[in-house]
Symmetry: C2
Subunit: 342 residues, 2 copies
């Protein structure tokens, strides 16, 4: 059955049927349901070309992807993409990745908007006063930010996890366990998520009458190697930490290896809490000591961003809605009371 036959059967115009199937707001709910039911019953699947003609849309979501010798796209991106794909698939949406040099992002955004290559875009890993958001706000293309910026004078639609709250709770639990020298091994300090995590740790420490001195805060790209180096550096200090909070499971691989090399036992000598984005190929419960984590599925976030982009394209969502997801604190064997005399 094609669109014409379906329309005739329902005694509706082809445009109405097409719009009903694509969730346009000008079609009322009764009609929408009647069309959807008939389409399902008769096995009608909209032809994307026809849909695009009817709706003026490309069926594509865009992502401007910084790349180049100095840029490493990290494995978090894969999981986010999996989630985005999970949702996009069921809506026959494609994703367009536009690789760009880091200093040509603006040009690339302008190009994909000018060429009408995509219906909407998403932005990831924002930093404070992120220029990409200022630009998108002017370009009039639907978008959603995965994460948050700070210090902009306009509101924008975003999906973020409660990084500050998660790391606040992690630090608070360690303080309750008697730790007073808590270190933070964080992501790059110019990204908002890392700033929020640091803020959460500081607030908990301040509330407990403690501080986060510079030598107990290390910020860097979240690789295994940087986790190792950070930990070695932390234990070269005179006042060594008794607990480490780490922003990624990858870094934590290096943290744990460094502690082994230093003959320090987890959790007897050092407690460890890591942030877990829920990767299927690297799980906190499988570390040599199962890790206590702040947990939030980055794949679920990808699916939700796709869902909201589709809602925006269908005018079911508008305005600058922000959505902040709470984060689980999952306790496993890697934490204990501060060692006596520490």
């Amino acid at each position: 059955m094609n669109l014409k036959q379906l329309s005739q059967m329902l005694q509706l115009s082809q445009t109405t049927v097409s719009r009903a199937l694509n969730g346009y707001p000008e079609v009322n709910e009764d009609t929408r349901r009647r069309v959807a039911d008939a389409a399902k019953r008769h096995g009608y699947r909209p032809n994307p070309s026809a849909r695009r003609l009817a709706t003026g849309k490309t069926g594509m979501i865009g992502y401007v992807m910084p790349t180049g010798a100095t840029v490493d796209i990290d494995p978090h991106f894969v999981e986010f993409l999996s989630g985005l794909g999970d949702f996009a698939r069921s809506h026959e949406l494609d994703l367009v990745l536009s690789p760009t040099a880091a200093d040509e992002e603006e040009t690339t955004y302008r190009r994909i908007v000018a060429n009408k290559q995509v219906d909407a875009v998403y932005v990831s890993s924002p930093c404070p006063a992120d220029k990409r958001l200022t630009l998108l706000d002017q370009l009039h293309i639907p978008y959603i930010v995965h994460g948050r910026s700070e210090g902009l004078d306009f509101a924008y639609p975003f999906l973020d996890i409660d990084n500050e709250g998660a790391f606040h709770e992690a630090a608070r639990l360690l303080i309750q366990l008697g730790h007073n020298r808590i270190a933070l091994v964080n992501g790059e300090d110019w990204k908002t998520f890392a700033i929020h995590r640091e803020r959460g740790v500081r607030k908990a420490l301040n509330a407990g009458g403690l501080a986060l001195p510079d030598h107990r805060l290390i910020s860097n790209a979240m690789t295994d190697e940087n986790g190792y180096r950070a930990t070695r550096r932390l234990f070269e200090q005179d006042d060594k930490p008794t607990a480490i909070i780490c922003s990624s499971l990858f870094m934590t691989l290096g943290v744990m290896r460094a502690l082994r090399d230093l003959n320090l036992a987890v959790p007897a000598d050092v407690s460890v809490i890591a942030h877990d984005d829920v990767f299927p190929w690297l799980k906190p419960e499988n570390f040599s000591v199962p890790l206590t984590t702040t947990r939030s599925s980055i794949r679920a976030a990808g699916a939700r961003v796709a869902e909201r982009l589709v809602a925006r394209l269908s005018e079911l969502e508008d305005g600058a809605r922000g959505e902040v997801w709470p984060v689980d604190l999952v306790v496993r064997g890697s934490i204990a009371g501060a060692p006596p005399g520490a």
Copy 2:
């Protein structure tokens, strides 16, 4: 400077200038160079829309991406994508990812070809008699396969690494070191790369008068957890291996943890060789014992696939050219002679 001005200055038609800048074969080399020099000198950058009109191309490379609850895109994909992006960026090409259910791949390929959404596609992780290649061979769209299939009655363009040779050399080195119970912890056995790796190991073992019994071969998705389980299973046997060859660094994380849990030292009790795709965020030299590896950059492969797709679009490459990259065998501390009495 725009295309018209550049053309007038060079006393060439706009079509000729456009084709020269896009590497079309009908423009002779002298003209091509003259146009490229002038464009560079006067800061002319082709407008992609104009380019597309002139060339009939979309400027997009496609990838049909299986997704869904049961499909995990793994981190290898990110590194490949980084490499593809590195090259695509300098040619203002975008990548279109079309998410698909595993059982709807054919429909998705047909859709993107029918809709002329992309100029070319690449295919990854092929299996023997891969239906995607049979389909693409009929659909008349330029494509390149990353990896190889087997048992097809037509030739196709591909880029692969010498998986068989790499794993043959790894096994041969272990045999030379006196090992005669060598285990293989491999990727999923329906993918060609895993079949080739197994074949390489078997050939080396056979040449040394040894065998690979079923209980010393474990094939599965290449996660940390599966590496751990495989190793535990290998050491529940009566004739325990003295060496393990492992198809991925992720799995090797689990292999090494299992060996630690079993109180087995690397390399004194067990030698380990792993395949390294050269991830920036997980390096073999940083494992608790630096790993001997078969090494080939999957990022470089991504860049080369993009380069060859562009060459095919420009008609600088045609036919079913196969390209097989040799693989380095990099010796580090994780291998030693077989333990005495083993």
